[in-house]
Symmetry: C3
Subunit: 351 residues, 3 copies
């Protein structure tokens, strides 16, 4: 599978990295250690001591630095060794790679490419877990599968009619008709009206409504979704455009932020938050919604991990794209273009 390096990947929820407690993570095969220094700075270093390759994530936070707890090398926040026990001289190349890291919208974002090219403006925007307008639940799942297969899943919502036939209970619509899809510079935009949908945002039978579901799916694998339900006839009245203000919906105004991080070959972590707008839901509805979503995400995981196993045993992997795969193809082409850019940047740097 093909991934780009010159972009921001979610390494975890901000609260997962506590002051004084090194946090191991793997992204694109690189082992990272994240830690928060005494002064509160978030740091991401290569998780591999220069001395004998012990993981720094088994180390000890000391002030603004991190000490390897095998033989005691002390690293500063830039990854430079600043103390070698029993030895006064420190070799100038005694350092590990340091990764640009930013905390935003409750996520820790790590730039995996050339540090000089790191641009915070390229971080996709989601909503914080403490967003004042929404009651958000959150979690994460580890997959024994390629991140790209999870991206593909999220880019083709026709699977809602089958994988989630019982959990989301949306009927044939997501598969039977095409959504409105537009290209974004850094991803794609998906928009669908389901007219006369007989269930509400918690998947329960309710007054039929016109229900809108739309998301941006952004490089490298971030989904930012809004859902809202409106009186019958609204879809046609709006000419099937996205509602201007979801919070003014009839009911079901819901936000979900999701991110897929490729950890290593056939290994990925899937982060997600979801919840109702405070005007249109309460803690009980947030719980019901999250329970439904957890069921649905287990359904995805079961299918995708099984798909990965079949792929692994299929020497000549041919797929047969359908009309719904247009979004998958669009997005993966953007990723491929960015990944090729990475390769060219490396080549011109070497030339």
């Amino acid at each position: 599978m093909l991934y780009a390096r010159n972009c921001w990947y979610v390494a975890g929820w901000s609260y997962q990295v506590e002051t004084g407690q090194p946090f191991p993570m793997q992204i694109l095969g690189d082992r990272l250690v994240l830690f928060r220094t005494s002064s509160g700075q978030m740091v991401a270093l290569e998780d591999r001591c220069v001395h004998r390759l012990a993981p720094l994530s088994l180390g000890r936070c000391e002030g603004e630095g991190l000490r390897c707890m095998y033989h005691g090398m002390l690293f500063d926040a830039a990854g430079t060794v600043i103390e070698i026990p029993g030895q006064s001289l420190i070799p100038p190349n005694a350092k590990v790679r340091s990764y640009p890291v930013v905390e935003r919208d409750s996520w820790i974002w790590v730039w995996m490419g050339d540090a000089a090219a790191a641009d915070e403006a390229a971080i996709p925007r989601s909503r914080s877990l403490d967003d004042p307008d929404y009651i958000l639940r959150h979690g994460w799942l580890d997959y024994d599968a390629e991140a790209q297969l999870i991206n593909d899943n999220l880019l083709d919502f026709s699977h809602l009619s089958f994988v989630h036939a019982n959990s989301f209970n949306l009927g044939a619509d997501p598969a039977a008709t095409q959504a409105k899809v537009t290209q974004l510079e850094n991803g794609i935009r998906y928009a669908r009206w389901m007219e006369g949908l007989p269930t509400n945002g918690a998947g329960l039978p309710d007054t039929p409504a016109d229900s809108f579901m739309g998301y941006d799916f952004l490089i490298p694998g971030v989904l930012v979704m809004n859902i809202s339900s409106w009186p019958l006839g609204t879809a046609a009245k709006l000419d099937y455009a996205e509602p201007a203000d979801h919070s003014r919906a009839f009911r079901d105004c819901t936000f979900s932020g999701q991110a897929v991080t490729p950890m290593a070959d056939r290994k990925a972590r899937y982060f997600f938050s979801i919840g109702p707008h405070r005007n249109q839901g309460d803690e009980t509805i947030a719980d019901l919604m999250f329970k439904m979503v957890e069921t649905a995400f287990d359904e995805d995981k079961r299918m995708i991990e099984a798909q990965q196993k079949v792929i692994d045993e299929t020497p000549d992997m041919r797929i047969m794209p359908t009309a719904h795969d247009r979004t998958v193809t669009m997005f993966n082409a953007k990723v491929a273009r960015l990944a090729r850019g990475d390769a060219q940047a490396r080549e011109s740097a070497l030339a």
Copy 2:
């Protein structure tokens, strides 16, 4: 290891594939999905959707077809896609491989080779679980070992004196002397008289008797065995020929049908039934006999899986055949000949 494709393999017990419930199986590395349609037809398809390679065994039976539950492709019993949600055109090559399949003697038999060459007459005959003459118990075991090692085990009963020294309790005879072995077109025939055997068919001490044990071992790996015990002197009186009618024995008339299916590298499934003739045993004896056999089959599995591990770590695998290995050599030569025939058939088809 070498296996032939142009033959019938046991995929399961007939009752394991219930109407409406797809059943996954692996044979010779191919992933299959078996299902029974509404009209009762047994179907075996490649377990890999043409769209994005999800397993069809996670799908849903619909009438005479099977629907992939990832994005909803519907397949008919011949493996042809007959519906793609959200798309009217169906590409002509949208089909998966369909395998000839037959139910006989309580087993599901799948032909793994060229479908045009599938010949039902080549299916080895065993006895159904509901055979009116026998009280049969049955089961299966999954091995982390090559099917051929299990075949080899079943082709050389000298192991009964050692692996099953305590369970079958047959003494030195099976290893100390040679059985009478004859060639069959599709396998070998093994016949042994044990004179004055002091145990009965449930492995318990009993009046000494002349006991006959004989089996056909048939391509690709099917054992069909008859046992019967007779008054002392019978073996010599019959000049060590097989008794004409086992059901007229003194006691212990027993049938066993067994089949070994190579699933993938170092992975095999071993199916077995065993039980006394109704004239010579009852449910209690059937239970005792099956308990003994389950113990013995666990002994085989422990030895063969350990043997497989040693083989895996032995770069230059030389074996030292003994006199008892004659049957092993005979049978494997027949399999090799058939497998070579497969290869030649492929070549002339391509020429």
Copy 3:
């Protein structure tokens, strides 16, 4: 990693191999079966029957021999087949490799190289578990890591200040200053005085003392250690030389014998004994000391197995040796020299 074959490896504690019970072990990738014959002889054979490669460790001890319990080949203590059931002729090459084996100091030592070169005088000396002067506890741990990483750990005691910061509680000293290291023909000798150490040999706060810790680390991976504590000022008075008689110490006179055996790739077994001199400790102190050591050895295992994982994922393994690594470098150079000698011996044997 690089290991020498022409040396003695610990295969187990002597008592682990009971008369009549075959004992499987792996050394340098070779599968061995050890057994003790009726007359008490310890035997080490290749654990792989010549017939069909079943493991002999699933076999049955018979007198001075071992019978394979698959099809009954009987081997004598030299590894020669002396009986094949159902066959009178025994091929002259029907034998498995036999390894020189010696029991000494409660350990079973196996020579993995050219049998003609096996020299019992090269076996490192430790102390028996029933040594009259010491109360020894013992155990072993299996590592998912290369033996060499455990050797490296034992050759650089600067890790005591970090890995065992809480368990051994020795402070900064082992890392902050260099020990006195001397070369031995078959290893290295390490000696360190810790002046004014405020803890005793069980890791508990006690009257400050000058504490000596010294060990020989011998090819292929055997540590023989003495510890003793003396009145303040003793270290300087002895000019930092090793005390002549540890048993005359103030307190804490302790012995530990340890051995690291490479089993296979990333697989090693670590044997250890430790305990106080009878004059300076009792069963309670022996228990306290062993409990501390078990905690510490778990700390080592956690660090080294994590280090192994990082190494496995590091394509270009560069390390950055420190001043403390002098002993590691010395010792590994000796092993490399011996291993090269093995290769040359093989070559001249073939020439």
